[in-house]
């Protein structure tokens, strides 16, 4: 027997607190593998946000700062300006990034801050118990849209990748999904590309990851992945939304 993949050095050997079927653990692992492969763990400074991934600093085996809700891109800006030679990334959910932190996100992107943002879009607030997010799908039931999200009352799914696609400071922008192995491979490639863009000093990079939240969606892990595939991908098409060529 031959070991083809070990535990990434960039992840601490600590058990995740995430729910069964949650995509966070997978996303963490992919980032850690990329840090390993690019050999940048010791150069990396991550910024954890507020949401289910608030404890990300306990999992990534690199320097970390925990940021206030939505402010990770501003915190990352401060770090990167002090250490332009280091690799700075944020890890943010959709409540954090697409709701309370939209201003910090757009302006960091517009300044072309040489940081990488990993954006987990699971269409719901996880940590606070399943409230509606700006990314919640029309008709989707949450604890604060018990009858299903009504677009006439509460608006439409906010499409971050599309929104940022016109922002000139953005060097690389992609949306991926992690609902099956083929997409996971694709997702990891996007994450790696985003970090490579930062390493090359090209500008701001962001990967939006469509993720499952079985607990707050009230689904089995398998059903939740199907929901990502059948419902989320329709509203949030995957693809590369912006990519500066050399």
């Amino acid at each position: 027997m031959r070991l083809i993949k070990g535990y990434p050095v960039s992840l601490k050997e600590k058990e995740f607190h995430y729910c069964p079927g949650c995509t966070h653990g997978l996303a963490h692992r992919l980032i850690a593998e990329v840090l390993d492969e690019l050999e940048i763990r010791e150069e990396a400074i991550g910024v954890a946000s507020v949401g289910c991934s608030v404890l990300a600093y306990e999992y990534f085996n690199c320097d970390m700062q925990q940021a206030a809700h939505g402010r990770a891109p501003a915190v990352a800006t401060g770090i990167k300006r002090v250490h332009p030679d280091k690799v700075v990334f944020t890890y943010q959910g959709d409540g954090d990034l697409a709701s309370i932190g939209l201003a910090e996100l757009i302006h960091a992107a517009n300044r072309g801050e040489k940081i990488t943002v990993i954006f987990i879009n699971n269409a719901i607030y996880g940590m606070t118990g399943g409230q509606m997010a700006p990314t919640t799908l029309p008709g989707q039931r949450t604890s604060t849209s018990p009858a299903g999200r009504s677009s006439s009352e509460t608006g439409f799914p906010l499409k971050i990748a599309e929104l940022l696609s016109t922002v000139e400071g953005v060097a690389y922008l992609a949306r991926v999904s992690l609902h099956d192995p083929a997409h996971i491979v694709e997702g990891k490639r996007a994450i790696k590309t985003a970090f490579e863009y930062q390493l090359a000093g090209r500008g701001f990079s962001l990967v939006e990851i469509l993720a499952a939240c079985p607990t707050n969606w009230g689904m089995t892990p398998l059903k939740a992945l199907e929901f990502v595939r059948d419902e989320m991908l329709k509203v949030y098409p995957k693809g590369v939304y912006r990519r500066l060529e050399k």
Binding site: Y57, M64, Q65, R71
Partner: protein, 367 residues
């Protein structure tokens, strides 16, 4: 402004005529500040403008943030990354920064914050005020924490305290707030920077600099276990106790035989000084204690004047905030009166003199 050299009473001094805002910025640069993040607001705009012009000359970074909220979080990031960093704003902008300040205090990051106060509440006005005292000295944001708060009363002192603030911030691993008012920010006075040297660079082994050859560093303020958070808060408060022990500062003016003791800080103290002079000309034994540190409040210095004093008169550009700390310090042993103007109205020496005269006449309840 240009540098000139002049000799007075044998002292050779390089003096420049500068606004308080410019002097704060220059002092920060000389103290080794190399990162500055802020958002425009009157009456402190000369600080970011000066930084935008001069920080790059020193290899530093000036960045105009998209909001005060972003600015203070950039400060959090940069301070966590080990840099000497500053932000400045005025009252409504400081309110916006309070979230970030609470995080910075909790994560024990050193930085300097300047508040050039204007009238409030709400959008208020743009004229000088001291109505952010409570916000400054009682924490301001959520949670159990304190800032070290210093209040300059001249352009020279604004420069000196700003420079020192960086040293204190590093030493205590705590944000230091320079609490000035619109007059201190806008006023031009001669200032010399000769005594201002970059403080020694304290090692910051806790900073996020990339975990090369060491365990990862984590900058954090989350403690989900209540006992851990309590322990953390107790640790913070041991630090604040040390500040109370070591950092109480005040200037005494004509206090040798003073019986009526005025207490005022910042611009108001300058005006009170003139009022004390006017009272003395009338034979009234007035004196002034001018707090320079607002947190820690110079309790010990106030207490040392109780024996000689018959009463205290707090004068502020507010409806009465510092007076509460004065009352705590005096602890009921002498009457404490208050006189204040608010909303951007600056009290005059004549108004203060009137209060002194009433008190000297033995009237009660003159506030």
């Amino acid at each position: 402004m240009r540098v000139i050299v002049f000799i007075k009473r044998g002292a050779l001094l390089m003096k420049r005529l500068m606004t308080g805002n410019e002097a704060i910025a220059e002092a920060a640069i000389r103290a080794g500040c190399r990162y500055f993040f802020a958002y425009p607001i009157t009456p402190q705009n000369e600080i970011p403008e000066y930084m935008a012009l001069h920080l790059p000359e020193h290899g530093g970074v000036f960045l105009q943030a998209e909001s005060e909220i972003a600015a203070i979080n950039m400060v959090y990031g940069a301070a966590g990354a080990g840099a000497r960093v500053m932000t400045s704003s005025s009252s409504p902008g400081i309110s916006l920064k309070m979230e970030g300040i609470s995080y910075i205090a909790a994560a024990e990051l050193p930085c300097v914050i300047v508040n050039v106060m204007r009238g409030g509440p709400g959008l208020g006005g743009i004229q000088p005020s001291q109505s952010d005292y409570f916000q400054a000295v009682k924490g301001g944001g959520h949670g159990d924490y304190r800032l070290l708060v210093l209040a300059p009363a001249s352009v020279q002192e604004a420069a000196g305290l700003t420079a020192e603030a960086f040293v204190l911030a590093d030493y205590y691993r705590n944000p230091v707030l320079i609490l000035a008012d619109g007059i201190i920010g806008q006023m031009m006075e001669p200032v010399t920077f000769e005594d201002i040297k970059p403080g020694e660079n304290i090692a910051k082994p806790w900073a996020t600099t990339g975990a090369r050859g060491r365990e990862p560093n984590i900058i954090n303020s989350l403690y989900l276990d209540p006992e851990e958070l309590e322990e953390h808060n107790r640790k913070l408060f041991r630090k604040y106790e040390e500040m109370k022990e070591s950092e109480q500062r005040a200037e005494l003016y004509r206090m040798e035989d003073a019986e009526l003791v005025l207490v005022a800080y910042g611009t108001t103290a300058r005006i009170a000084m003139t009022a004390v002079d006017m009272a003395r000309e009338k034979g009234l034994k007035a004196g002034l204690v001018r707090p320079i540190s607002l947190f820690p409040f110079p309790e010990r210095i106030i207490r040392s004047t109780i024996r000689q004093s018959s009463a205290y008169l707090a004068v502020e550009m507010s409806m009465g905030q510092m007076v509460e700390d004065l009352r705590l310090a005096v602890n009921g042993e002498r009457p404490v009166y208050f006189y204040g103007r608010t909303g951007g109205v600056v009290p005059t020496a004549e108004e203060i003199l009137e209060r002194i005269e009433i008190l000297a006449g033995g009237y009660e309840g003159c506030a």
